[in-house]
C-alpha cells in the first residue's frame, strides 16, 4: 500500500493555490464547502473563508495550507489530528477530538477553528483530494495544483514581463 512518503516521492500531492486578484468575493466557495461539510449552505461554517477589503476592492480566499509539519497535529494532546497519506491533508477525527482548542492556539494562521454547537474543531481536509471550492469557483481564483509547482504560474508571469533590456548579452 502506498503511504504518504510514497505519494510525496512520486510528486503526486497537490496544494490549494489561491489567487486573490481573481477573486470577486462571491462566496460560492464558502457555499460549496459548507454544503459538503455541514449539509447546509452556511458561509459562517465554511472551512475556506473570503476576506473582503472593500475600500481596496480586494477579496482574499483563505484556508489551511496543510503544513508538512503541522502545528495543530503536534499540539493535539489526544492525537485527534492525523495526515491523509494520499493528499497530505491534516484530518480532524470528530470521534477523538475533545474540543480542548489547543490546536487553535498552536496554528499560526487561524485556519483550524472550534465549533460551539458540536464541541469539536474543524478544518479543511481537501475533500479527500477533490476540493469542492476549486470546482465551484467561477473565476479560477482557487486552483488545486501539484504541490511542487505552486509557484510556476507566478514565475511564468514574471518571466513574461522580462524584456531585452534585462538580457545579459555576450559580445
Amino acid at each position: 500500500m502506498p503511504n504518504g512518503d510514497f505519494e510525496r516521492r512520486l510528486g503526486l500531492q497537490k496544494s490549494l493555490l489561491m489567487i486573490p486578484s481573481k477573486c470577486t468575493g462571491c462566496s460560492q466557495c464558502e457555499l460549496a464547502c459548507s454544503y459538503a461539510k455541514e449539509e447546509a449552505f452556511n458561509a459562517a461554517k465554511s472551512r475556506i473563508k473570503i476576506f473582503d477589503f472593500p475600500e481596496k476592492s480586494r477579496h482574499v480566499p483563505y484556508t489551511c495550507t496543510q503544513c508538512a509539519e503541522a502545528w495543530c497535529m503536534k499540539a493535539c494532546p489526544v492525537d485527534a489530528i492525523s495526515e491523509d497519506k494520499k493528499t497530505g491533508a491534516k484530518i480532524v477525527s470528530a470521534e477523538l477530538c475533545v474540543g480542548c482548542k489547543v490546536c487553535t492556539i498552536a496554528c499560526p494562521f487561524g485556519t483550524i477553528n472550534y465549533q460551539q454547537d458540536t464541541g469539536k474543531v474543524v478544518k479543511c481536509d481537501l475533500c479527500g483530494g477533490d476540493p469542492e471550492c476549486v470546482k465551484i469557483c467561477p473565476t479560477e481564483a482557487i486552483l488545486y495544483v501539484n504541490a511542487d509547482a505552486t509557484g510556476d504560474a507566478r514565475m511564468r508571469e514574471w518571466a513574461a514581463k522580462s524584456d531585452e533590456a534585462s538580457d545579459v548579452t555576450p559580445n
Binding site: C26, E39, F41, A43, A44, E55, I136, P138, T139
Partner: protein
C-alpha cells in the same frame, strides 16, 4: 426546505419582536421575496393607507434561493406602499445582507407601526432585539453601517437609511453593504417614517434545500450557461451595465436634457469604456475592478475610485476610497438626463446617493426636470435660493445633489421628486414620470416596448419589470424591431411574468440574459417542497403581477394611469435611427389588457382572478 419557514414580526409601536411560522399555502402560491412579501402586505394593509403613516407596513424578504449556491442568490426585497408613488413598492437589492438574514433563519421581517424614537434592529440567528438609535440618527449610511459593524461584529451585514430617509426625501433608498440599494419608489422614506434607522444581521444557521444533489446539478448547469454567455460571461463582468451607454445612444434611445433629446453628445465620456480609460489628470482609471454580490458568478458591480483632486472631492478624504461605482442607470440619470458629461462628477453624485441613501434615477431625473424649469424660467434664482441649475453643468449638478442628500435649501424641493416639483411650478408636463416615478435610461420613442413597460409597471416607471431591451436591442431570447409595436404586448406580458417569478425566487434578473425558465425552474424544484414545473413558475409570476395590479387599483389607480409623459407621446425623436418617431402606446395597450385578461379600462376580470386563484 428552501424556505426557513419562519417570519420575524417587529412591532415598532410596541417595541416587540415575535417569531411566527411562514404561511406555507401562500409560499406555494407566491414562492417568496417579491411575491410572498407582497401577498402578506396586501392581506395585512389597507390599500388606501397613507404611505408615511404607521399603518403602512414594510417587509424585508428573501426568496427560497436566497443564501443558497444558486447563481446570484444574494437578492432580497423591500415591499411596502411607496412613498414616491402611492403604489405597491417592491425594490430589490443585492450585496450580502439578504443572504445573511436568511442564514440567520428568517424568510422575512415584517415591520409594523412606528417607533416613538429612533431605533435599530439586530438579528443574531433567532435572537432579535430593538436598540436605541438616538446616536445614529443624522448619520449617513456609511457612518451608520461602520458603527454597527464595530458595535455588533464585523462578520455581520447591515441595511440602513441615510439622512435622506430621515428627512423625508420621497425617493430615499434602503442601502446595504455600503453601496447596494433597494433603491426605487421611496422604500427608505417609509423606513425613516417608522423611525427605523438600520437592521444588523448575523446568521450561522445555514440554508437547506430539498434535493441537494439535484440542486447542485441544476445550479451547476445554470452557472455553466452564465459563464459561456457573451453578456453574463463577458460583457457584464468587463463593463457592468455600463456596457449599454454607447449602444443605447447609437440606437437613439438615450433620453437627454429631460428627454427633450434622444441622443447625448457626451455619452462616450460617461460609459463603460470611459470608466476603463486612464484619466488625464492622474493617469489612473475611474474603474478599479468589478466585484460580486453574494453567490454571483457574473460580478457586474463596478468599484471606482475618484481623482482625489477633482473639484467635488478635493481635501475630502471620505470620498477618496474605492466604492460602488457608476451603473448604467445612475450614469444616465445623473449624466445624460442632466447633460453632464464629466465622469468624475457623476461618480461623486453616485457616491452621494449611496452615502445619504437616495435613488439616483429619480434624483437625476428630478434635477433634469428642475434644470428645464430653470431654463424656461418657471423657477429662478429666487426660488432656488441663488443656486444655479443649468443643463450640462457639473458644478450645478454636484451642488444640488449634495444639498438634496442633506435636505438643505432648494434640495428639499428636489427631494419631492419631479412630479410634485413640476406641479408646484405649474409645468406638470415636464415631469418624466409614470404613476409618480421617473422613467429610467431607455427612451420609448426609440424602443417601443419600453413605453408599454413603463406605462404598465406596477411600481411606476421602471425598466426592471419587463426589460424588453433584451429582445428589442440585444436579441434575447429573440430579436424584435425596437421601432415596431406589433407583438410588444405579448413580449411585455411574458417578461413581466417571468421577472416576477425570478424576483420571487431570490435571484437576480440579470441571469435571464442567459437563462430561460427551463434553467431556473429546476433550481426552484430542487430547493423547494412540491413540484415546480416551468408552467407553474410562469403561473406564479402571472399571479404575482395580477395581485400587484389588484392592489394598485384598490389604492386608487386606474387604466388612465397606464400612460406616459406627453413628451414621449407627442414630441418626435429629433435625431438618430428613431428620428420622427413617438411612442405609440395606444397601439399596444388595448392588446396588452386583452392578453392579460383585463377589462378595457385595465381591471382584471373575475374570470382572470378566478383562474389565478386571486
Amino acid at each position: 426546505m428552501g424556505w426557513t419557514q419562519k417570519i420575524l414580526r417587529v412591532n415598532l409601536t410596541k417595541g416587540t419582536c415575535e417569531s411566527e411560522p411562514l404561511n406555507m399555502q401562500w409560499a406555494n402560491d407566491y414562492l417568496g421575496s417579491r411575491g410572498l412579501a407582497t401577498k402578506y402586505f396586501v392581506e395585512e394593509t389597507d390599500p388606501k393607507v397613507d404611505p408615511l403613516s404607521p399603518d403602512n407596513k414594510m417587509i424585508f424578504a428573501t426568496g427560497p434561493l436566497t443564501g443558497t449556491a444558486s447563481p446570484t442568490s444574494g437578492r432580497w426585497t423591500v415591499v411596502c406602499k411607496g412613498a414616491l408613488t402611492g403604489a405597491i413598492a417592491c425594490s430589490n437589492s443585492g450585496g450580502f445582507f439578504g443572504a445573511e438574514m436568511k442564514n440567520a433563519g428568517w424568510d422575512m421581517i415584517i415591520f409594523e407601526g412606528k417607533s416613538a424614537k429612533p431605533v435599530y434592529l439586530t438579528i443574531e440567528n433567532d435572537q432579535a432585539e430593538l436598540h436605541d438609535a438616538g446616536d445614529l440618527w443624522g448619520k449617513s449610511v456609511w457612518e451608520c453601517e461602520s458603527e454597527l459593524l464595530k458595535r455588533h461584529g464585523e462578520e455581520g451585514r447591515v441595511a440602513s437609511i441615510g439622512q435622506a430617509g430621515e428627512s423625508g426625501c420621497l425617493y430615499a433608498a434602503v442601502v446595504n453593504d455600503m453601496d447596494r440599494a433597494a433603491g426605487r419608489s421611496g422604500v427608505g422614506t417609509v423606513m425613516g417614517s417608522k423611525n427605523l434607522k438600520a437592521v444588523f444581521s448575523r446568521g450561522t444557521v445555514g440554508v437547506k434545500v430539498k434535493d441537494p444533489m439535484g440542486f447542485m446539478k441544476a445550479t451547476g448547469a445554470a452557472k455553466k450557461i452564465l459563464a459561456e454567455n457573451a453578456v453574463t460571461g463577458e460583457g457584464l463582468p468587463t463593463y457592468g451595465t455600463q456596457v449599454l451607454m454607447n449602444v443605447i445612444n447609437e440606437l437613439g434611445a438615450l433620453p437627454s436634457h429631460n428627454a427633450a433629446d434622444v441622443q447625448f453628445d457626451g455619452a462616450a465620456q460617461i460609459g463603460g469604456e470611459a470608466m476603463h480609460a486612464k484619466r488625464e489628470t492622474d493617469g489612473k482609471a475611474n474603474l478599479v475592478s468589478n466585484a460580486a454580490c453574494f453567490g454571483c458568478p457574473i460580478s457586474c458591480q463596478r468599484r471606482s475610485q475618484m481623482d482625489p483632486n477633482h473639484f467635488t472631492v478635493k481635501d475630502r478624504e471620505k470620498y477618496h476610497i474605492v466604492s460602488g461605482g457608476l451603473e448604467y442607470e445612475a450614469a444616465w440619470a445623473l449624466g445624460a438626463a442632466t447633460g453632464v458629461s464629466d465622469l468624475e462628477t457623476l461618480t461623486f453624485c453616485n457616491f452621494i446617493c449611496n452615502e445619504y441613501g437616495m435613488d439616483p434615477i429619480t434624483l437625476g431625473s428630478t434635477v433634469a426636470a428642475a434644470m428645464e424649469l430653470y431654463k424656461v424660467g418657471a423657477i429662478t434664482d429666487k426660488e432656488t435660493g441663488g443656486v444655479s441649475l443649468t443643463f450640462d453643468s457639473p458644478q450645478d449638478l454636484a451642488t444640488i445633489c449634495e444639498m438634496t442628500g442633506k435636505g438643505e435649501g432648494f434640495g428639499k424641493e428636489i427631494a419631492m421628486g419631479s412630479k410634485r416639483l413640476c406641479e408646484k411650478y405649474g409645468r406638470p408636463e415636464l415631469s418624466m414620470t409614470v404613476k409618480g416615478q421617473e422613467f429610467p435610461a431607455y427612451d420609448p420613442r426609440g424602443i417601443q416596448g419600453m413605453g408599454l413597460t413603463y406605462a404598465t409597471s406596477n411600481r411606476g416607471a421602471c425598466h426592471l419589470r419587463s426589460y424588453t431591451v433584451a429582445s428589442e436591442v440585444l436579441g434575447i431570447p429573440e430579436k424584435t424591431d425596437p421601432h415596431v409595436t406589433e407583438g410588444k404586448a405579448g413580449l411585455v406580458k411574458a417578461f413581466q411574468d417571468a421577472t416576477a417569478l425570478v424576483d420571487a425566487s431570490g435571484t437576480c434578473i440579470f441571469t435571464t440574459f442567459a437563462l430561460s425558465m427551463e434553467d431556473i425552474a429546476p433550481q426552484i424544484n430542487a430547493a423547494c417542497e412540491g413540484d415546480w414545473s416551468t408552467d407553474r413558475c410562469m403561473e406564479v409570476g402571472e399571479r404575482i403581477w395580477n395581485m400587484e395590479r389588484v392592489y394598485n387599483n384598490a389604492a386608487g389607480f386606474t387604466g388612465a394611469d397606464d400612460t406616459l409623459p406627453q413628451r414621449l407621446l407627442k414630441d418626435a425623436a429629433k435625431t438618430g435611427p428613431a428620428e420622427g418617431l413617438v411612442n405609440k402606446l395606444d397601439e399596444m395597450l388595448p392588446e396588452y389588457y386583452s392578453l392579460r385578461g383585463w377589462s378595457a379600462d385595465g381591471v382584471p376580470t373575475s374570470e382572470t382572478l378566478g383562474r389565478l386563484g386571486l
